[in-house]
């Protein structure tokens, strides 16, 4: 049976053990109202910041017009690379839910010129 003594510093728990509570130590762990408000404000600010970052990222993705028709390069090396980029893009979309803008084909001029 639980019982608390008059000073509120000792009680017998259900197992019948007597437990001493250090009220001073316990009180040190309790946040004051100001501290609680500050902690809550910090949490809210952090959530808002994350939300803002997400919103900016979404705007960037939307601005890039993910539905613009894709133009495939004609050069075979550029086309191979572009197809790979498109695969990465669609896989990312599949995982994250946002398609993102189509990659810009890289113009590689070095090939064939050295020969």
């Amino acid at each position: 049976m639980e019982s608390i003594n008059r000073e509120g510093t000792r009680f017998d728990n259900t197992a019948g053990e007597t437990v001493q509570i250090d009220l001073h130590a316990a009180s040190r762990n309790i946040l004051s109202m100001d501290e609680m408000r500050a902690a809550r404000a910090r949490q809210q600010f952090s959530a808002l910041t994350q939300e803002a970052f997400r919103a900016v990222k979404l705007i960037e993705i939307e601005k890039a017009d993910p539905e613009a028709p894709v133009t495939f390069p004609t050069d075979p090396v550029e086309l191979s690379h572009f197809s790979g980029q498109m695969m990465e893009r669609i896989r990312t979309q599949h995982k994250n839910g946002h398609l993102g803008a189509a990659p810009t084909p890289i113009k590689w001029e070095t090939r064939g010129k050295a020969a």
Binding site: V77, L79, S80, I90, L99, W108, R111
Partner: protein, 144 residues
């Protein structure tokens, strides 16, 4: 082999014991989780058909590993019933498409081989986009 070693080996080689595969399939069914490897497997099935029908008794895989690497893998049994396999890695470099075959042998592909490879990568994207990701490959719009 310990469980952990077995798992690492199966992740590296892609080989799973029957029990592992069964457990994985059951888990996937329960959680309907689609892993990257599942997607690659599905893509690879489409990729294998891009170069014409796969001869009977052969197992072919062709897939995009990342934006600049494509893998061709083929397994078959020869006339002496010995298991054979070959893996070719195509790396996209500014200078061209480097073909890395068993050996290893390195060679930049040219002419028809290069043109066919490039068309295969485009077809791969178009087909997987339509059949796996359910999107129009040209606009990115999701099919209704």
């Amino acid at each position: 082999m310990s469980g952990l070693l077995k798992k690492v080996a199966s992740l590296i080689t892609g080989n799973e014991s029957r029990d592992d595969a069964k457990t994985r399939a059951t888990t996937a069914l329960i959680t309907t989780e689609i892993t990257d490897r599942d997607l690659l497997r599905q893509e690879s099935k489409i990729g294998a058909t891009l170069f014409g029908p796969v001869p009977k008794g052969r197992n072919r895989e062709f897939f995009c590993l990342d934006e600049s690497t494509w893998i061709w893998h083929e397994e078959w049994r020869d006339e002496k019933n010995i298991e054979r396999q070959t893996t070719v890695r195509y790396e996209i470099h500014p200078k061209g498409v480097l073909k890395v075959s068993d050996g290893p042998r390195y060679q930049f592909i040219e002419g028809d081989e290069l043109a066919n490879f490039a068309q295969a990568t485009r077809l791969y994207y178009e087909e997987t986009s339509k059949k796996i990701y359910m999107r129009d490959p040209h606009t990115g719009l999701k099919f209704a």
